[in-house]
């Protein structure tokens, strides 16, 4: 089966304002650069005000609907661990998860709503996804390395591509999309962001392409 005859289905999850929609556009452009048709569905509107947001990104001829069915996503790229767990029911068996380790604690957790229990959330992720299919991005280390928290979305996508979580989309495709879309001011930053984060995970040969990303 050619890569065009099926679909690669990826969910990007986060909290309003974290850049999930921007990341889905970058991923879509990377896939289009490889000649794949793309469909995405976004959360726009009321949910943006600090709410949970998601993007469904579907790559390939096999995608008809913009939404991914439950249990059918190949990968989840999460900007925030609790949001990874919230979307977990969409992941297929053996699906892959890349998540930032930095929680965004909502107001509700301080004003009587359910608490944010990070250790429990992380151990649940590890247990359900399995170490092999899970990459945890150290957000603080990424911020220290890049000098800003702005490029976390690119770090996550880079880590996902390296683990093979983005199907046919490679680091090179992402780098090309970054070059085509990012303003010169942030270009170097975003290209560097692609090259940090977990490398030795997943099942993909893409990790060998790390060296092709300019630093």
């Amino acid at each position: 089966m050619s890569e065009n005859a099926r679909s690669t289905d990826i969910i990007l999850a986060g909290v309003g304002g974290q850049g999930a929609v921007l990341a889905s556009k970058l991923l879509a452009r990377a896939a289009m650069g490889r000649g794949l048709p793309v469909k995405t569905a976004e959360t726009i509107g009321m949910a943006q005000r600090g709410g949970s947001v998601f993007s469904h990104v579907r790559l390939g001829e096999g995608a008809v609907s913009p939404l991914i069915g439950r249990g059918r996503a190949d990968a989840i790229v999460a900007f925030e661990p609790a949001e990874a767990v919230r979307q977990l029911s969409f992941l297929r068996p053996e699906g892959m998860v890349v998540t930032s380790d930095a929680p965004v604690v909502p107001v509700s957790a301080a004003t009587g709503g359910p608490a944010y229990d990070l250790p429990v959330i992380m151990s649940y992720l590890r247990e359900r996804v399995g170490e092999k299919n899970l990459a945890v991005v150290d957000a603080a280390a990424a911020q220290a390395a890049l000098g800003t928290a702005r490029a976390l979305n690119v770090v996550l996508l880079g880590a996902a591509a390296r683990g093979g979580a983005l199907g046919p989309v490679t680091l090179d495709d992402l780098a090309a999309a970054v070059r085509a879309t990012v303003s010169p001011r942030f270009l170097d930053l975003d290209l560097r962001a692609l090259s940090i984060g977990p490398a030795n995970w997943g099942q993909s040969p893409n990790s060998s392409k790390l060296g092709t990303v300019p630093n």
Binding site: A28, T43, G45, A47, F54, R86, S108
Partner: protein, 632 residues
């Protein structure tokens, strides 16, 4: 032609421009807003675009343009159509000369709306043709088809995307600007027998509409986007059929393969319903499942088709409980319904009973597909993330000032439509009612006629004030109400993405214009107490509320402070850990997302990435532990 990665709303904007649209008007509302914004961003010299004060005004502007032979587009969300319904119902009888497309975005779920009304039903009520796209690509093409049809029939045509088409992105093949049609309007030709509605005209028009719709039902049966297909090929003789539409058609396609033996009807023109095509579809079938979102429009039409033609086909769907009666469909909700309908082995998943309309964005705990285990471990309790007012939002300060000023008194706080509806959340809890655009003012009035001892407030945003608040103030003033109008003026239409309005002094054509002054409007109505105050000046705001609320009659406070999403913070606040005693008064009373309590010490930290330096927490901290902010 070229390929572009476009949001459905952008694709429809380009479709309108490619069809030679001359005039575009609308009022912002999720999920429709980006259509007009994309027109404004991509339009050529000759295209006029405006954000109107409300949907009724927008539709009338478009109608006037179409009277003069222009191609006109009007955009709105589904509840906006209620506002525009008065001119639209009559326009259906009067008709247009230039092509006119009424783009109405429906919101199954609902995700960002008050109602789950179905514009397909509205189209039948208004007796207007309606097109129902399934994808951004199709929505793009339908815009041109709708303009052609409108011009040919001499009536407005409705195009009705839903949220997943509006906000879905796709790589779409679109015309280059050089390929766009150029439409030179003839101008308005005076003819009172055509443009002035009187009962005699309406008698003739109604009869002509009914004849036209009967003809369109036949004609739409050969419209290429109304389709009948068979999963097992054209030679199969299936006994089961599925009828669907819009985005649900893609969910149906995701859940069928050539191994199934089903005939599928896809209806792109729910009104006039393509009955001859539907009869062909029904021929030889025993049973049909109608997979629809919102109203059972196709289901009812098929039941009627069977009745009229004496067909014995069982029609299932929402009315028989086989499809969820409300809420948004999903790939899996449709999959479960099709599994049951075809008698396929049902996946080991929880029953759809009580399935949440928000199932897509908020999967329920326990629905875990990662393993085939019967009882996977229960997921941990997750924090909940209801939408909240942004850190530093001036609305928080306004609500908090009124709350403090009125502590201990019998009060009523009527809210309205906008970001400030979020003032309902804990810990502010300052929205007692919210109905529809502008309603809060006269609801406050109505309650006080029953309970005169209640101190009544109506909160309304600046854009909502212009959209439909002014008539409410006139009514309350004229009828001697006793209430306080609170205008939350952040000088933008924030909730839908910061559109300009009459108070901003900017138009969508890029002009800088005279601002319409809210104060002067209120003074002109006759109010004598109209006070403008910065809500972030907390003590002064509280004092103003106390004083104004005790004045007789209708009086107004304008809380003016810019939306923090647009303004750049000057300096952020910091907590002096030596002074913070961990009382968490700031967290408990304000609920600002930038205030983060430490679970171990109880002391509060300020998230500098979110803080805008509004200083509200600085002003209420009992130990003066917070400082460094600077008000905008």
């Amino acid at each position: 032609m070229h390929r572009e990665f476009l949001m459905g709303n952008e694709a429809m904007a380009v479709g309108a421009l490619a069809a030679g649209v001359n005039v575009v008007a609308g009022y912002p509302g999720t999920p429709s807003t980006e259509v007009l914004e994309a027109v404004a961003g991509r339009r050529g010299e000759g295209v006029y675009v405006e954000w109107s004060v409300n949907e009724k005004a927008a539709l009338e502007v478009a109608a006037g343009a179409a009277y003069a032979g222009a191609r006109a587009l009007v955009t709105m969300k589904q509840v906006g159509l209620n506002v525009a319904s008065d001119p639209l119902m009559s326009l259906s009888y009067i008709g247009v000369k230039g092509g006119m497309v009424v783009l109405v975005a429906d919101d199954p779920g609902p995700i960002s709306s008050q109602t789950e009304q179905d514009t397909r039903t509205f189209a039948a009520y208004a007796k207007l043709p309606i097109l129902d796209p399934s994808s951004p690509t199709e929505a793009y093409a339908m815009m041109g088809e709708a303009f052609d049809l409108s011009e040919e029939l001499g009536c407005p045509v409705i195009v009705r995307p839903t949220t997943r088409v509006d906000h879905g992105y796709e790589d779409v093949e679109v015309a280059d600007p050089e390929e766009w049609r150029v439409n030179e309007p003839e101008g308005f030709v005076r003819d009172p027998s055509r443009w002035v509605i009187f009962p005699a005209l309406s008698v003739r028009a109604h009869a002509a509409i009914e004849r036209r719709d009967a003809e369109l039902a036949k004609r739409f049966s050969s419209y290429a986007r109304n389709t009948v297909a068979q999963t097992a090929g054209p030679d199969a003789v299936p006994r089961l059929g599925i009828a669907t539409h819009g985005i649900s058609a893609t969910y149906v396609a995701e859940n069928l393969s050539e191994k199934d033996d089903v005939r599928v009807l896809r209806v792109a023109t729910p009104h006039p319903f393509p009955e001859p095509l539907a009869a062909d579809f029904l021929d030889g079938l025993d049973e049909v499942l109608c997979v629809e979102e919102l109203d059972p429009v196709i289901e009812r039409a098929l039941v009627a088709t069977c009745g009229r033609r004496g067909l014995t086909v069982k029609i299932c769907g929402k009315l028989t409980g086989d499809i969820q009666p409300s809420g948004e469909n999903t790939v899996e909700s449709v999959g479960r319904a099709i599994d049951a309908f075809l008698g396929r082995e049902v996946a080991d998943e929880p029953a759809p009973a009580g399935s949440s309309p928000r199932a897509v964005s908020q999967p329920r705990s326990g629905e875990d597909c990662l393993s085939t285990e019967k009882n996977p471990p229960a997921p941990p309790t997750l924090p909940i993330r209801p939408p909240v007012l942004c850190a530093g939002c001036p609305h928080r300060a306004s609500f908090y000032a009124v709350k403090r000023a009125m502590r201990g008194r019998k009060t009523l706080f009527c809210g309205d439509i906008g970001c400030y509806t979020l003032g309902n959340a804990a810990p502010l809890d300052m929205v007692d009612t919210c109905l529809c655009m502008g309603a809060g003012i006269n609801i406050a009035q109505g309650v006080t006629h029953v309970e005169p001892d209640t101190v009544a407030f109506a909160f309304v945003g600046d854009s909502t004030f212009f959209a439909s608040g002014i008539t409410g103030v006139v009514n309350a003033f004229y009828n001697q109400a006793n209430m306080t109008l609170v205008v939350l003026d952040n000088s933008t239409t924030a909730m839908t993405g910061h559109q300009p309005h009459p108070g901003t002094g900017r138009t969508m054509m890029g002009q800088v214009v005279e601002k319409v002054s809210i104060e002067r409007v209120l003074l002109a109505i006759g109010l004598t107490v109209v006070e403008t105050v910065d809500p972030l000046d907390h003590e002064r705001a509280v004092e103003t509320v106390r004083r104004v609320a005790d004045e007789p009659g209708v009086k107004a406070i304008i809380f003016r402070s810019p939306c923090v999403v647009l303004a750049r913070p000057k300096a952020t606040s910091v907590v002096d850990v030596e002074k913070c005693v961990g009382c968490q008064r700031c967290v408990r009373e304000l609920g600002c997302p930038a205030l983060v309590p430490d679970s171990a010490t109880g002391r509060v930290r300020i998230d500098s990435a979110q803080c805008t330096g509004c200083t509200l927490c600085e002003q209420i901290c009992p130990t003066h532990a917070i400082s460094g902010g600077e008000r905008l």
